[in-house]
C-alpha cells in the first residue's frame, strides 16, 4: 500500500515531498500537482485550503495510504520500540464498530512490543487526555459525534508517534472542549517535540497552534502560500495577525 | 373407440425386466388396442409406489415386494401379471471372488474374513426389498454363512454397482443388464450365484395396477396384458430384435444392442408372464421375510394377485 520511502538516516526534516502529484483513478485529472514540502523535525505545520482541495488526500499520501502519481515521498523515522512512527487522526472518526471504545484506542498499540497492562494503561491515559475516561466500555454507536472524534484523537495519541497527522481533529468539538484539547496538543507538542501536520479549516486555530501554515489552492491544487507564523510559539495570538493572514489567504483561495 | 383412446400411465424401473413394456410400446401394440401409454421412469420401487398411491400412475413394472408392502399399508393395488423371475444374481470381485471361486461355501467366507481381518462386505438394497431377502436367503439358508462373517450394506441399485466396481464391496446383488455390463467392463467380476441358485423361482418384477384403474378400464387392461404376454414371447423368440427395440428405452446411446442381446440370453434373464407360477415362491419369500424380521405381518399373497386379466388374455 505504501509508496513512501522510509529512511532512518538522521535528517533535519521528517517529511520530504518532492514534486509530488496525486490523483484518484487512472484517467481522472490530478488533485494535487507539484507539491514540494519539507517538514522540519518538531515543527507544527497547519494545512489550510478550501473544501475538496486535497488536504485529506495529501495527509493520506504522507501516511502511506495512497500512492502518489509522481514525485518522491520520504519519511525519516526513528526506531523507537513501543511506538509507531506515524499517528493519523482521520477526518471521519473511523472507529471499528465491533470494538468497544477502549479497544479502539488500543488498536494501534497491538503488535507493538508492549505488554497487555501497559497497553491498557496507555489507552486509558489517552482516553483521559480527550476527557472520555468514563466511556471506555461503550460501543462506538453509543457515542456523540464529538465523542467519536475524540476517540479517534485518543487512538492516534496512544501510539505516541513521532509524526502526528491530524485531519480536522477538532472539527466537531464545541469551543471549550476544543480549547482544552488545543492546549493539550500544544503542551504535548512542546514537551515531546513531535512533528505535527494539522489540517484545519479554522484559521484562528491554525494561527494559534502552528508555527507554519501551508495554504493549498487552485485546480489542480498546489501549495499557494507557505507562511512562518511567529505567533503560535509563545501562545499569544494577535488578532491583527490572524486578520492579516486571513485576508492574505482569502486572496489565494479559489473555489 | 379409436377416436377416444384409453390413457394409461405406466411407471417402470430401468431394468431389463421392464422390457415387455418397452416392446409393447415400441411395437405400437398398445396403440393398436386403443391405448395411449405414457411411460414414467423411476429410480426405485418405493418412489414409484408412492406415486402410485398418490394416484399419479396407473400401472407399474416393479419388484413384487414393494407392491406387497403397499398392500399391507392399505394401498389398493394388485399384481395382474408377471414379467420376469430369478433376476438377481450375486456377483463378486477382486480378492474375494478369487478366494471363494464360483462355489462359495460357509468355510470360504469364514476363511476370507479371517484372512483379511474384516467381514465380507456385500451390497444390496434396503431390508424388505426382493434383493435383500433373497440374498439373505442364499447366504443363511443355502450357503449357511455365519452371520458374523458378512456385513450387508444397503444402498440404491445404481450405487451398488458403482461401489462394487470401485472396490468398496466384495460382492453385491445385481441384475441385468448390469450383470453383462459389469462383466464386460471388469473381467474380474465373477458370478457367485445365479438367481435360481439363490432362491428357486425367485420372484422378481411384476405388473401391478391400481384397483380403481382395473375397475374403470378392464378391457384396456386385458388388451394390455395380452400385449405383454406377446412381448414376453417375442423376447424368447427373437432376443436380437427385442434388444434393438428395448435399447430405445433402456440405455439408448449408453449400451450397444448387442449387450442387451447378451443380457437377454444370459442366466439373469428369465421372462415369465404367468402370475400363477410365481405365487408359491412369493409366499415362500414372504414367510422368510417375516422370519428374518424385515416385515412384521404377512399378507395373504394370493389376495394380492388378480389373475383374471392374465387368464382372460391367455385364454383368447
Amino acid at each position: 500500500m505504501a509508496a513512501v520511502t522510509l529512511s532512518t538516516k538522521p535528517a533535519a526534516s521528517v517529511i520530504d515531498l518532492e514534486g509530488v502529484s496525486i490523483g484518484y483513478g487512472k484517467d481522472a485529472p490530478p488533485v494535487l500537482v507539484d507539491v514540494d514540502l519539507s517538514v522540519e523535525r518538531g515543527s507544527f505545520v497547519a494545512i489550510v485550503g478550501p473544501s475538496g482541495v486535497g488536504k485529506s488526500t495529501l495527509l493520506r499520501v504522507v501516511a502511506g495510504l495512497h500512492t502518489a502519481r509522481g514525485g518522491k515521498v520520504t519519511i525519516h523515522q526513528d526506531q523507537r520500540p513501543g511506538h509507531r512512527p506515524v499517528g493519523l487522526v482521520f477526518q471521519d472518526s473511523r472507529l471499528l464498530p465491533w470494538r468497544r471504545v477502549i479497544r479502539n484506542v488500543e488498536f494501534g498499540l497491538e503488535g507493538l512490543p508492549v505488554s497487555r497492562d501497559e497497553r491498557r494503561r496507555r489507552a486509558e491515559a489517552a482516553l483521559k487526555l480527550v476527557r472520555l475516561e468514563g466511556y471506555a466500555g461503550r460501543w462506538p454507536y453509543e457515542l456523540s459525534g464529538g465523542q467519536r472524534q475524540r476517540i479517534g484523537i485518543a487512538r492516534a495519541m496512544a501510539v505516541d508517534p513521532d509524526i502526528l497527522l491530524m485531519d480536522e481533529p477538532f472539527g466537531a468539538l464545541d469551543a471549550i472542549t476544543r480549547h482544552n484539547l488545543q492546549d493539550e496538543l500544544r503542551r504535548i507538542h512542546q514537551e515531546t517535540g513531535k512533528t505535527v501536520l494539522f489540517v484545519t479549516h479554522d484559521l484562528e486555530e491554525a494561527v494559534h497552534l502552528a508555527d507554519r501554515i501551508i495554504v493549498l489552492g487552485g485546480t489542480p491544487a498546489r501549495v499557494v502560500r507557505d507562511v512562518r507564523n511567529s505567533a503560535g510559539r509563545d501562545g499569544s495570538v494577535f488578532r491583527d495577525q490572524v486578520e492579516q493572514l486571513r485576508s492574505e489567504i482569502a486572496d489565494n483561495y479559489s473555489i | 373407440r379409436a377416436a377416444d383412446p384409453v390413457k394409461l400411465e405406466i411407471g417402470y424401473i430401468p431394468i431389463l425386466a421392464a422390457s415387455p413394456l418397452f416392446i409393447v410400446d415400441g411395437k405400437g401394440w398398445a396403440k393398436e388396442a386403443g391405448i395411449e401409454l405414457k411411460l414414467t421412469r423411476f429410480e426405485s420401487g418405493p418412489h414409484a409406489i408412492q406415486a402410485m398411491a398418490a394416484g399419479q400412475i396407473d400401472l407399474l413394472y416393479a419388484g413384487v415386494a414393494p407392491v406387497l408392502v403397499a398392500r399391507t399399508k392399505g394401498v389398493d393395488i394388485s399384481v395382474i401379471a408377471n414379467s420376469a423371475v430369478e433376476e438377481m444374481v450375486v456377483a463378486g470381485r477382486g480378492a474375494f471372488a478369487k478366494a471363494v471361486g464360483d462355489k462359495p461355501t460357509a468355510d470360504s467366507f469364514k476363511k476370507f474374513a479371517a484372512d483379511t481381518g474384516r467381514k465380507v462386505k456385500i451390497g444390496t438394497q434396503p431390508p424388505g426389498s426382493v434383493p435383500d431377502t433373497v440374498l439373505k436367503y442364499w447366504l443363511f439358508k443355502v450357503v449357511k454363512v455365519d452371520p458374523a462373517d458378512v456385513e450387508l450394506v444397503p444402498m440404491g441399485i445404481e450405487k451398488t454397482q458403482q461401489a462394487l466396481l470401485a472396490g468398496a464391496l466384495d460382492a453385491a446383488t445385481i441384475r441385468e443388464p448390469t450383470v453383462t455390463v459389469t462383466q464386460q467392463m471388469d473381467p474380474g467380476v465373477v458370478l457367485l450365484a445365479t438367481g435360481a441358485q439363490m432362491f428357486p423361482d425367485q420372484p422378481g418384477t411384476v405388473v401391478s395396477a391400481r384397483g380403481e384403474v382395473l375397475k374403470k378400464n378392464p378391457e384396456a387392461i386385458k388388451a394390455l396384458i395380452k400385449a405383454h404376454v406377446r412381448a414376453v414371447d417375442l423376447i424368447k423368440a427373437d432376443p436380437a430384435g427385442s434388444a434393438k427395440l428395448v435399447n430405445n428405452y433402456l440405455g439408448k446411446g449408453l449400451l450397444e444392442p448387442a449387450t442387451l442381446e447378451a443380457a437377454f440370453k444370459g442366466p439373469g434373464s428369465n421372462f415369465v408372464a404367468d402370475p400363477h407360477k410365481v405365487v408359491p415362491a412369493v409366499e415362500q419369500m414372504m414367510a422368510y421375510t417375516k422370519e428374518i424380521g424385515s416385515a412384521s405381518e404377512t399378507v395373504p399373497v394370493a389376495e394380492a394377485f388378480d389373475f383374471s386379466f392374465y387368464d382372460a388374455a391367455a385364454a383368447k
Binding site: - | 400411465e9 414414467t40 418412489h47 408412492q50 466396481l165 459389469t182 467392463m185 471388469d186 446411446g253 449400451l255
Partner: protein, 250 residues
C-alpha cells in the same frame, strides 16, 4: 489486475485442473471405468449431440432449473426480508421454519408427486425449495445488518413508510448480501437438478442417473461438464451484472 491477466490466469487454472484430472484418470489410482479422462468427453458429446439427446436433456433441465431458481429466489428473498423486518412475524415463523428447513429434497418428493404429479412442476418445486432456503437465510441476515442510521435517514426524509423504506433503503442496503445468496442459489439449484429428476422427469439428471446405472461413465462426465459449463456461464454473467449493480461499492 488487468482483465487480460485475469482471463489468462483463469485459463491457466482450468488447464491445470484438466491436466490434473487427465493425469489422475491415466494413473489408474481411480479405476478408469469410474473416472474417464477429460479427453473422452468430446467423443461422448458428439454421440449424444448427434442423436439429439443432449439438446433435449439440456433444454428440459434448463427449464426446470430456471423456473425453480426464479421461484425459489423470489420467495426466499421475500420471506427472508419479511422475517427480518417484522419481529412478530419472525417470532411466529421461527420454529416452523426450523422444522421445515432441514427436510431434504428427497423427503419432499412424495409431496411433490402428490401436488404436481410426475411432472416438470414437481422438479421445479424441488429445485426451488433448496434455492428458497439459501436465499431466505442470506436475505434475512443481510436485511438485519442494514445500517440503522440509513433507515433513520429515510424516516427523516419522508421515506419511512413501508414501501419506500423497503425499496429505497433496506433492499439496496442489503443488496450485497442478498446477491451473494442469489449467487449461492444459482449453484445450489444445479446441484439439485439431478436429485429433482430422480423420479421420472426427464432431463440431464435423469440421463446421468441412467448412464451411471449402466456404468457409462463417459456420458455421466459429459453431463457433469455440461452442467459445469451452463453454471459457469450463468455465474459469470451474474458476476458481471452484480459488479454493475454494486458499482457503488469500492
Amino acid at each position: 489486475m488487468k482483465t487480460r491477466n485475469k482471463i489468462a490466469l483463469s485459463a491457466l487454472g482450468v488447464i491445470v485442473f484438466l491436466l490434473m484430472w487427465e493425469a489422475l484418470a491415466r494413473s489408474g489410482v481411480v479405476p478408469a471405468r469410474l473416472l474417464p479422462s477429460p479427453s473422452a468427453v468430446p467423443a461422448a458429446f458428439l454421440t449424444e449431440f448427434r442423436s439429439g439427446t443432449w439438446q433435449q436433456m439440456v433444454l428440459a433441465s434448463l427449464s426446470h432449473y430456471l423456473v425453480g431458481l426464479g421461484l425459489g429466489t423470489l420467495l426466499g428473498v421475500s420471506f427472508g426480508t419479511a422475517a427480518a423486518l417484522w419481529g412478530r412475524w419472525d417470532a411466529f415463523q421461527a420454529w416452523v421454519v426450523r422444522m421445515l428447513r432441514p427436510i431434504p429434497a428427497i423427503a419432499w418428493i412424495p409431496f411433490a408427486i402428490i401436488w404436481f404429479g410426475v411432472s416438470e412442476g414437481a422438479a421445479s418445486f424441488l429445485i426451488s425449495l433448496t434455492v428458497f432456503w439459501i436465499n431466505y437465510y442470506a436475505s434475512y441476515a443481510a436485511v438485519r445488518a442494514v445500517d440503522k442510521d440509513l433507515i433513520e435517514l429515510g424516516y427523516a426524509f419522508g421515506q419511512g413508510g413501508l414501501i419506500p423504506r423497503l425499496f429505497k433503503i433496506v433492499l439496496p442496503g442489503a443488496l450485497p448480501g442478498i446477491l451473494s445468496g442469489v449467487r449461492a442459489g444459482l449453484g445450489q439449484g444445479w446441484m439439485t437438478v439431478v436429485a429433482a429428476e430422480l423420479f421420472g422427469i426427464s432431463g440431464l439428471g435423469m440421463r446421468m442417473m441412467e448412464a451411471s446405472g449402466l456404468l457409462a461413465t463417459n456420458i455421466v462426465v459429459l453431463y457433469m461438464v455440461t452442467i459445469a459449463l451452463l453454471y459457469g456461464v450463468s455465474d459469470f454473467l451474474f458476476m458481471q451484472i452484480q459488479s454493475r449493480v454494486l458499482s457503488w461499492q469500492r
